[in-house]
């Protein structure tokens, strides 16, 4: 296992998302990767051999399963079949943990086709809490839930993102899978300071961190006003430096180990460049831990 992010007793870990396109390179560099995240939905209906291959992988390196379609952030109870699919896969693969999104993905039988931010309200928070309880009861084992990026300010919201996430995670005791690029995109798209937004999140609940990249897209022209732009989280670009700055801040503020995962879903650069991003993540973690130690030492004198 790589140890560049080890900092005394603080065993931070850095890894990346398992993608079949990267499989050969991942196997060649297992000594530089602490953990892999596997998209669970790709295996819910997979033949036994494919599931066995992931179990074999999980025996070689820590694996976390990542779900993308439960739709937990809803006033509608999550479908039992979706929970059972995850439970069966967890049982078959024996990962160290699993995760899902705090997202709304369907309504009235209509599939949105992607992860949408629900109205951030007391009702959707309570619905998400109930769904998380159901999921934890059915699937078991440690789980955490991820914030999503949104191009639209979630309609009908009465809470902001940190308030809404805190309400859900405090009530359920669940972990937060904090996607820093999602949080960064939401901040810059809606006029918030990314670091201030980060510090208002329930950082004590953060277990895992996602890093990814995106691209700026132009707003549609409405009138004579020059259109602005918004950041689309697309997982097709390198992690921007402000997101690494957020990771430094996060590592400075939390006093428990973090697992950081790089997500890349296409337009793959050379694997060396992906490994460089993992190195940058380790450096950001180490810098944040150093700053925390310096701060603690200064306070003690």
């Amino acid at each position: 296992m790589a140890d560049a992010a080890d900092d005394g007793a603080m065993k931070d870990r850095v890894g990346l998302g398992w993608r079949s396109e990267l499989a050969a390179s991942i196997f060649s560099h297992l000594d530089e990767i602490d953990i892999l995240e596997v998209v669970a939905d790709d295996y819910f209906h997979a033949p036994r051999e494919r599931i066995r291959s992931i179990r074999t992988l999980a025996a070689q390196i820590p694996v976390s399963l990542h779900g993308v379609s439960m739709g937990l952030a809803s006033t509608v109870p999550v479908e039992r079949a979706r929970l059972e699919s995850m439970a069966r896969l967890v049982d078959a693969v024996q990962p160290e943990s699993w995760s899902e999104h705090l997202a709304f993905v369907r309504g009235g039988g209509v599939e949105i086709g992607h992860l949408a931010a629900p109205p951030r309200t007391r009702q959707s928070s309570e619905g998400a809490q109930e769904n998380i309880y159901r999921a934890q009861r059915t699937v078991g084992m440690p789980s955490s839930f991820e914030n999503v990026a949104t191009l639209i300010r979630p309609p009908a919201s009465t809470m902001d993102e940190p308030e809404w996430m805190s309400a859900i995670l405090t009530a359920t005791g669940a972990g937060l899978l904090l996607d820093l690029h999602n949080l960064y995109a939401n901040a810059v798209n809606f006029g918030d300071d990314p670091c201030e937004l980060l510090l208002r999140c329930p950082l004590d609940r953060v277990k895992t961190v996602h890093l990814s990249g995106g691209r700026w897209i132009r707003e549609p022209a409405v009138d004579e006003t020059p259109p602005g732009r918004r950041l689309l989280d697309d997982h097709l670009h390198d992690v921007p430096s402000p997101v690494f700055d957020m990771l430094v801040l996060l590592a400075q503020r939390v006093d428990h180990p973090l697992t950081v995962l790089l997500e890349r879903d296409g337009e793959y650069p050379s694997f060396d460049l992906l490994l460089q991003q993992l190195t940058l993540a380790r450096q950001a973690l180490a810098e944040g831990r150093r700053k925390a130690r310096t701060q603690t030492a200064a306070q003690a004198t």
Binding site: V68, G108, P119, N189, I217
Partner: protein, 75 residues
């Protein structure tokens, strides 16, 4: 506010181009016609129209990519 019916409205607004066009030309009537209550209709008056158009375009792209079996994993 959130309710299963309101979530259905949003899911349809995000995926049904005809409903989106009706909403953009007459939000209040479209919300009432869908059976949203007064508070829900009122909450939609201040919707982020620019973001709505961009989100719908992004969701359309994701659905098209999925149907053509291109792996575009979520955020």
């Amino acid at each position: 506010m959130s309710s299963p019916h309101f979530e259905e409205f949003l899911a349809r607004l995000y995926t049904d181009q005809a409903l989106l066009e009706r909403f953009l030309s007459d939000p209040a009537e479209t919300c009432r016609g869908f059976g949203l209550n007064e508070a829900e209709c009122e909450s939609m008056r201040s919707i982020d129209i620019t973001g709505l158009r961009m989100a719908v375009a992004s969701f359309n792209h994701k659905r098209a990519a999925k149907s053509s079996r291109v792996h575009q994993r979520p955020a």
